[in-house]
Symmetry: C2
Subunit: 98 residues, 2 copies
């Protein structure tokens, strides 16, 4: 298992594959936005597309968060080992939502 974290990832992550696919699509979308920008396309059009990328990113993050809550957090609480995982999650949420 990865040593990047104190908790191991031995429970299932239902949406992990879906999240990876979403991130792939977002990457492609972002590449297209970059091309639009370098072609000198209208600023408002580019801004609209950046807004769409941002929304897709938020939805991927939401799915990741749901996975995390249902999998890692529930698992950690059941093992009486939730302190670190909740601290890490709080930190991530503080960065995400401000």
């Amino acid at each position: 298992m990865s040593d990047h974290s104190d908790h191991t990832h031995d429970h299932p992550h239902k949406h992990r594959k879906d999240i990876v696919n979403r991130l792939s699509r977002i990457e492609g979308h972002l590449r297209a936005v970059k091309e639009m920008t370098s072609e000198g396309r209208d600023c408002s059009e580019v801004l609209l597309q950046i807004a769409a990328v941002r929304k897709a990113l938020d939805n991927a993050a939401k799915l990741l968060l749901k996975d995390h809550l249902e999998g890692c957090v529930v698992d950690a609480v059941k093992h009486g080992d939730e302190e670190k995982i909740l601290a890490d999650l709080n930190k991530a949420l503080d960065h995400y939502i401000k």
Copy 2:
């Protein structure tokens, strides 16, 4: 000139190149986040990185918006031709900030 818009892009866009570079870096960052995700890295770590991508995207959008205001919008107003550009910009802002 592109026919995607009613207004032409004959004024300078000071930050256009910077924005393209930023979008390139964000694309690379997003690719790394996708790899972290498919490797099963800790959810909070991934969420932190998605938050960083989102912030970088917001900063690119901000720069684009400044360029647009200083260049396209000022130009359109000077030519008494601001109606469409402001309508498009309002639409883009409505999508961006909600």
